[in-house]
Symmetry: C2
Subunit: 304 residues, 2 copies
Amino acid sequence: MNEFELIDLMVAELDDAARGVVLGPGDDGAVTRVPESCELVSSIDTLLADVHFPAAAAAQLVGYRAIMVCVSDLAAMGAEPGFALVALNLPEANGTWARGFAKGIANAARKVAIKIVGGNVSAGPLCVTVSAHGYVPLGQALTRGNARPGDVVFVTGSLGAAAAAVADGGLIDFQSAEDLSGPARRYFMPEARVEAGMALRGIASSAIDISDGLLQDLSHICVSSGVGAQLTEADIPVAHGVDLNLALNGGDDYELCFTVPAERADQLPALGVAATRIGLVRAEPGMELDGEPVSGSGYRHFEQ
Amino acid sequence: MNEFELIDLMVAELDDAARGVVLGPGDDGAVTRVPESCELVSSIDTLLADVHFPAAAAAQLVGYRAIMVCVSDLAAMGAEPGFALVALNLPEANGTWARGFAKGIANAARKVAIKIVGGNVSAGPLCVTVSAHGYVPLGQALTRGNARPGDVVFVTGSLGAAAAAVADGGLIDFQSAEDLSGPARRYFMPEARVEAGMALRGIASSAIDISDGLLQDLSHICVSSGVGAQLTEADIPVAHGVDLNLALNGGDDYELCFTVPAERADQLPALGVAATRIGLVRAEPGMELDGEPVSGSGYRHFEQ
């Protein structure tokens, strides 16, 4: 099986997840249209075997996770998913793996209504890069840079379950979505908070998705906005049975952390997921938890 | 040096090549606007160390090549370059390498007027994935699927020099753009034929960029269009001092191969590069060179 045969079988597996655009997979480029009066939001994310997922993990779960991780960035910008391109490096021409991977891609794409319009396949160490693109009305993208002192800090869902699944090991024991235990499901099948991001347009003053850990990701908002934050430990929505430390510093949850001006904080719109107040934005830089200074110590590539 | 410090130094090196969009690097996603009455053309390409470039090649040349290779796909669609995202896997946090890489990215981006709006850095085997996006007026994208019997087959520039540079070895001897010999320059600094692609809107019936070899890439046009082609050996624009075989089957030239209805073939617009007639489209599938059947035998991943 060569590169082109592999591509054909993956595109066949994508089925309707690759259709519905001006021109989908199969040419030098895909062609799409951005809805009128909208800006385009674009992000790229790489998932490397044995860094971002176990190399022996089920192909379908790797594909699903790759799409959700990248679409989560669109959610954090308040964007409606539009289309994605997927670049896969595969050590050998394994048609079974490629088919499972494409099935996972397609399932995730259907879940968040994004179209897979093209991609690339190379022979190399197992690695997936997804470039995802979405739409926001002009000027309404949620950024990291507009949090103001007094804004309320929120987080969606609960935190720490995905990191607990990684800490527990055993992620390679699952061969399909149906097999997944609760924490492993949070790891492999995060739910990009698209509905929440879109509902927060014009309401949230800043937003970020939690990929590297709550404290580290919130610190990005603080630095970008030139502010600080004070958090209350008892308010952190720690996932059931998980250590607080994993909820604060474990990555991979893909929940949203966002800030809302105080006068709007009591009347949030429906987000499709619970949102919990965890603290307040303050003028002074840095972050505090129950009055004690804390810093983001989540995942950073190249650090020991 | 950690991931975020590496990103900061690369974005600093990009300078103006990262500015001039609604929101550039530094948030969950970049924000851009598609020009009115235009469609968006999108492509993704991966360059792996020791597959698509020597691992020891100069970082600046790797960066330059990565952008041009992906923008070449935009050229083949007739698109005006808009913006790109760059995902880099780097084995170690080598600031010198990253800075050189970013410089190469920036130089290529300025050359073709594309903006680098975001990216991703991971610790892993050296690999670059570029997602490039451009604009075409509604319905004017050049595809592979509309070549018709009787159309004239053209190719831009000359073919085979990049493949000759690979065959000769020695690609790692060059540390900067200024050092490059002719063939190595063709390999590391291909010129995406953006001007040609844009000028051919509404004129060419099909187009493709030559990444895997003339015959293989032309065969993609033939299959997509349901036609064949007959070529004349003496008309192939073989690069100076290069074997015909490399011109037919060597990849990496990133010239355009395109077809034009016969009645337009004598009055091509200015393309910014020479274009040579090399044959005709025919109804019967398959390709012939001077009457003898030939098939595309260019590069295919996973084939021995």
